[in-house]
């Protein structure tokens, strides 16, 4: 009986082995489903960033009310998923928190960027850290693990618990570009979602992390950096450095219905209405401009 059992497992392993011999070429085959089919039916699918999803979904709802024939489906899945799916032509729009240029495996030249909103991010700490302002250097020290106790930056004698964001997430990329500037972050806890980070920081003494502005509330304490407060005006003038765009990518130039929808996203209606209601900063309000490499220029 035992023998048989091992035999069956061997066969199973063997089957797995047999399967892998033919694996080299499968990547392309499994994702080449349909291209642009969604546009013919006046059906737009947008996939990607979970942070951006509520905004696009809401805008899509309003858009459909005005254009009854077009149906827009908005789904999450993460920026990486959005970018790779739009690149493969599986969906019409890929939502992303980051520049396509910053993702390896994505050919940014084939994609067209549509920036639809700006998101500011602020470091947040647990309320009993006893700190409300740090310098950029101190912040860098904290996230690289050089500063490990709040008393070193003028707070209570409390160990610092760093809660980082998921590797490869847009929020983390933005934060590291602006704060760490190439230094390596200390190995620490990582959380993917704003909601969870908010919850962890608010309940863990000595915790620090960073959140998009829209998730700031009474349960956590946002920090000023070098006395600059994290608010929309400071982002618009680039006094507050930690911010990024929300992108909606299309493969090549957007066509027909998709173009209409993207145009609608950029309209005053959405930018001054929904965008602000959702806690984003309107693209129209920005006084500066950032390129994929992080260079900021006056508009």
């Amino acid at each position: 009986m035992k023998k048989r059992n091992f035999f069956s497992t061997l066969v199973m392993l063997g089957a797995v082995g047999a399967v892998l011999t033919g694996c080299g070429s499968n990547n392309a085959s499994s994702t080449n489903g349909k291209s642009d089919a969604s546009e013919h039916a006046a059906k737009i699918t947008a996939v990607g960033s979970t942070a951006l999803q509520p905004l696009v979904e809401k805008a899509a709802g309003q858009f459909q009310n005005e254009n009854k024939k077009i149906s827009v489906t908005v789904q999450g899945g993460g920026s990486g998923t959005g970018l790779s799916q739009v690149q493969d032509g599986a969906v019409a729009i890929g939502n992303s928190d980051v520049f396509a240029e910053s993702k390896s495996g994505i050919d940014a030249s084939k994609l067209e960027d549509h920036q639809v909103a700006v998101v500011g991010m602020a470091p947040v700490v647990n309320k009993d850290a006893g700190v409300d302002n740090v310098s950029m250097e101190q912040l860098k020290g904290i996230f690289t693990g050089k500063i490990t106790n709040w008393k070193e930056v003028g707070g209570k004698d409390e160990k610092i618990t760093v809660v980082n964001r998921a590797e490869g997430s847009g929020t983390r990329a933005t934060f590291e570009d602006a704060v760490l500037k190439g230094a390596k972050a200390v190995k620490s806890q990582e959380q993917d979602s704003n909601g969870t980070v908010q919850k962890i920081v608010s309940s863990t003494p000595g915790a620090i992390s960073y959140l998009a502005f829209s998730y700031l509330n009474d349960s956590v304490k946002p920090l000023s950096i070098d006395k600059v407060k994290p608010n929309d005006e400071n982002v618009a003038s680039n006094k507050w450095k930690i911010w990024s765009y929300e992108h909606m990518y299309t493969k090549g130039k957007a066509k027909t219905a998709t173009a209409d929808f993207l145009k609608y996203m950029n309209s005053k209606d959405v930018q001054d209405g929904l965008v602000k209601k959702m806690g984003y900063i309107s693209i129209h309000d920005m006084k500066v401009q950032k390129d994929a490499k992080g260079n900021v220029t006056q508009k």
Binding site: G78, K187, D192
Partner: protein, 307 residues
């Protein structure tokens, strides 16, 4: 006579029915096998791309302690070491199963051997209820109750293997319990009567007769429980801390294979190394659950009485 002979030699409705039933069953099982093969192929091909396409050293992958697929180390190789996650996944699953099994067995014995019909009628729906609570809810209760409790008792942040174990323990308890109850109930009543008739008391009957007879079923129940623990992501992710560190103890933040996989998979681009590396984690997961499966079956064969 001729007529009867013909009847005996011709196919009847029953023959057709049986052929029909067999075909249906074979189709169903074939479908499942195809499905499993499909998904296995999918995971294996992607998981192995890390080694075949990106030429990552398998040994380094299994024993390395640094995970940073986007960067390269001093030798120009990508930093992909999954050991901390493997260790954590293993510890959490085994610990959760170790803790849950006695409780689940106690519950199962209580429900099938001790409690009357009324007790079972009350407990069964409650236990089944627990299966349906979404992971996220478990995660959040873990975050707001278990983690602070551990923090107060053991110090540290409260995140870690212990918190993960406790949350998983509660999550797999219903699975193991209800499947064990089924196995215990499947033991024929005559076994119990025979044992009691021989003068064995209740515990001796349960321990020496019923549990032995039901052993294979109970072990399958444990496998299913462990499988759930192993594959669980959202709840564990919230309480384990998600730090890519070798676990130093039960209360230091760590990361399991699934939590890493779930956290990062949306942020990576299909077909690139960071994405493939995540599929390799899924592949490890698959092999490890296969491995668990074997061990438990092996123990099961040894422990069960011969029929």
């Amino acid at each position: 006579m001729k007529e009867i002979q013909n009847k005996l030699l011709q196919n009847s409705k029953a023959t057709r029915e049986d052929r029909f039933g067999k075909v249906i069953c074979y189709i169903c099982i074939g479908f499942i096998i195809a499905l499993v093969a499909c998904i296995l192929y999918f995971i294996t091909s992607r998981g192995l791309a890390t080694f075949t396409k990106d030429h990552v050293n398998l040994w380094g992958f299994l024993t390395g302690v640094n995970w940073n697929p986007g960067a390269v180390d001093a030798h120009g190789n990508p930093e992909i070491g999954a050991l901390p996650m493997i260790v954590t996944s293993f510890s959490v699953t085994i610990l959760a199963a170790l803790v849950a099994t006695p409780f689940a067995l106690g519950m199962a014995i209580f429900m099938s051997e001790i409690a009357g019909k009324k007790g079972t009628k009350f407990l069964q729906p409650v236990i089944e209820l627990l299966v349906g609570i979404p992971s996220v809810v478990y995660g959040f209760i873990g975050l707001s109750v278990v983690v602070p409790l551990i923090r107060k008792t053991f110090g540290g942040t409260g995140f870690g293997i212990l918190a993960g174990t406790i949350v998983l323990f509660v999550m797999i308890l219903p699975t193991i319990t209800s499947l064990s109850v089924d196995s215990l109930k499947a033991v024929p009543i005559s076994y119990r009567q025979a044992s009691l008739a021989l003068g064995a008391n209740r515990w001796q009957t349960i321990y020496k007769v019923i549990l032995r007879t039901a052993a294979p079923g109970i072990l399958t129940a444990i496998i299913f429980g462990m499988a759930r623990a192993f594959g669980e992501a959202l709840a564990v992710q919230m309480v384990i801390g998600n730090a890519l560190l070798m676990p130093k103890g039960l209360v230091s933040p760590a990361s399991t294979l699934t939590s890493k996989l779930t956290t990062d998979v949306g942020n990576t681009v299909m077909g690139t190394l960071p994405n493939n590396a995540l599929w390799s984690l899924a592949l490890i997961l698959l092999f490890m659950s296969l491995f668990f499966n074997l061990i438990v079956r092996f123990i099961g064969k040894k422990g069960s009485i011969k029929k």
